[in-house]
């Protein structure tokens, strides 16, 4: 169980974390989302006892990290943004050292072997940490975090730098760990949150802007879904036809590519008009070349949360960023 209560961290006039509060129940995974410099790492460093907060408190597994740091740290595993490896040590030496300083007194060798197997680094056991690839470094970092079987795991971008297969394996491992561990993980990747986390905290400029389950967050933010349509037909007519489909609020033509006309179709909240759009094009004898919902990226969601917050505008995320901004 992790409880963060009105946590603030100030560096002189600069406020890195501003009155952040949230809770993670035992066995849950909490996703921590936010752009760079939002205060994710600072919050995690406070939870792990790396640095004290200016005000507020953090309670890990029943222990206040500031009042009883040793008890709290004994129950916390932490993977920092850069895995804290000693380049001159082999993986086995490194994990043995970590096991010792984490307070493991007996069966250290077995424990190290077990953890190496679990994080798929056993084949690199006698390689120097400095010679490992980024993916292996990350996994040794993960091994280091779970070696003392802590109640709470704090993972700062655990999948950064991994290849797609490793990402899937790591997510799988994190989900497996969730039953017996309480986990906080920070990430930039939205699918990661929806696939692994039960709760999401979005943080910006040190403040929590949203706390919810990923499903709620996505549906709340998908006020207006946008669908991309590419058709082989006279542009103006296609546009008119699409406009006539019920629940469509707006059709904008995007950059034409030769003969083809493409459109972005905004629809009302909750309405799935893909069938209607398809038949509107096909029944008039034009070719339907592409039809897909435009995915809401983290940037979209994130930006709309910020816009919602600052403008207090009632459900106007249709003014959300266009794709160019999202990809920028």
């Amino acid at each position: 169980m992790i409880e963060v209560d009105h946590l603030s961290k100030r560096y002189g006039p600069f406020t890195a974390v501003d009155d952040v509060s949230f809770r993670v129940e035992s066995g849950q995974i909490l996703g921590f989302l936010g752009p760079n410099g939002a205060g994710k790492t600072t919050t995690m460093r406070i939870i792990t006892g790396y640095m004290p907060a200016t005000s507020g408190k953090a309670i890990v597994a029943g222990y206040d990290v500031f009042e009883q740091p040793l008890e709290a740290k004994r129950r916390t595993g932490y993977l920092p943004e850069t895995p804290p490896l000693y380049p001159d040590m082999t993986v086995r030496e490194y994990l043995t050292f970590v096991a010792k300083i984490k307070g493991i007194r007996s069966h250290v060798k077995d424990r190290v072997g077990e953890v190496m197997k679990r994080t798929w680094v056993a084949d690199m056991a006698d390689r120097h940490c400095g010679k490992l690839s980024k993916g292996y470094k990350q996994r040794v970092g993960l091994a280091q975090a779970i070696i003392h079987n802590p109640d709470v795991l704090v993972l700062d971008e655990p999948t950064a730098g991994l290849d797609p297969k490793q990402i899937i394996e790591t997510r799988q491992l994190i989900r497996e760990l969730a039953g017996t561990h309480t986990i906080i993980l920070s990430t930039h990747i939205l699918p990661e949150v929806s696939q692994t986390c039960q709760r999401v905290v979005i943080i910006n400029k040190g403040r929590v802007v949203a706390v919810d389950s990923p499903e709620n967050l996505t549906s709340r933010l998908q006020g207006a879904a946008t669908i991309y349509v590419q058709a082989d037909g006279p542009a103006a007519e296609v546009q008119a036809a699409l406009q006539n489909v019920p629940s469509v609020t707006r059709v904008t033509q995007s950059e034409p590519k030769g003969e083809l006309a493409s459109f972005e179709v905004d629809t009302e909240k909750g309405a799935d008009v893909r069938r209607e759009l398809a038949s509107a094009v096909v029944s008039r004898g034009w070719g339907l070349l592409e039809l897909r919902p435009m995915r809401m990226s983290l940037e979209d969601i994130f930006l709309s949360v910020i816009t919602d917050e600052s403008a207090e505008a009632p459900a106007a995320p249709a003014e959300g960023p266009d794709e160019e901004v999202a990809h920028a």
Binding site: Y11, Y50, P52, P80, E81, P87
Partner: protein, 255 residues
């Protein structure tokens, strides 16, 4: 205690996992060996002259060879120690491994003492190599072992003082070169601080002589263990470690 030893072991292995440990020990041995050779050669010539009816008096191996040899050995410290301590904290901060140490169930004292003992152990290895030279003296001569033992104790205490100070300076920066350079300068300053003692007032003279780190070593080399010097070195070490702890703690608050 186990935690301290775990850190100390890691530090010591760290020196020998890279060329650093071997280079430092090797060059320490080389320089010590050179001092040993020149002093033995000098001693030989002296005793030859004595045998041929030179000025009377007794030839004392301890006074004429061991004491100056150990005095010379302190100079190597001045050059080698900044290289030992400059990485202790700076390197951990630069590579981010400090995050592992500070989020593990360790107290600051355990980390600092571990690092200190690790560095001291490396120094002990260096001194260990020089026991070969002492053994040679025992094989071919008959020096007294007690002044040699106190001399080594003095070397260890003086080394400990320098190491604790170097540790503190390393804890102030992320940059190894900066740490090394500042450490060297401060060492040198402590070395020569009483050079001006002849032309400052008598009060200042006492103060500067007391501060000078070499001044306190003389008696150890002569075979005397004076509490005054013992207290000086031990409080020097304690202060260095205390300042390190304050620096680490302050860094934590500043982030």
């Amino acid at each position: 205690m186990r935690n301290i030893l775990a850190i100390a072991g890691k530090e010591l292995r760290g020196y020998f996992a890279s060329p650093i440990g071997y280079v430092l020990v090797g060059f320490y041995a080389l320089l010590f060996g050179w001092f040993f050779y020149t002093l033995v050669a000098f001693f030989e010539r002296q005793s030859m002259q004595m045998a041929m009816g030179g000025p009377g008096g007794s030839m004392n191996l301890n006074q004429m060879l061991v004491a100056p040899l150990l005095m010379n050995a302190t100079v190597i410290m001045l050059l080698v120690f900044p290289l030992i301590t400059m990485r202790t904290y700076a390197e951990e901060k630069r590579s981010g491994t400090i995050e592992l140490l500070l989020t593990s169930p360790l107290t600051d004292w355990q980390i600092i003492l571990g690092k200190f003992l690790g560095a001291l152990a490396l120094y002990a290895v260096m001194l260990g190599v020089t026991l070969v030279h002492m053994a040679i003296l025992f094989v071919f001569g008959n020096p007294e072992w007690k002044p040699i033992a106190t001399g080594y104790l003095g070397l260890l205490l003086m080394g400990g003082s320098f190491l604790s100070l170097g540790l503190f300076i390393s804890s102030l920066t992320k940059n190894q070169i900066v740490a090394g350079m500042i450490t060297f300068s401060v060492f040198l300053l402590l070395w020569v601080i009483n050079w001006v003692s002849t032309f400052v007032g008598p009060t200042m003279q006492t103060v500067l002589n007391y501060l000078s780190i070499t001044e306190h070593f003389d008696d150890f080399a002569k075979g005397i263990i004076d509490t005054k010097h013992l207290v000086y070195y031990l409080s020097f070490i304690a202060m260095g470690l205390f300042l390190t702890m304050k620096a680490v703690d302050s860094e934590r608050w500043r982030g």
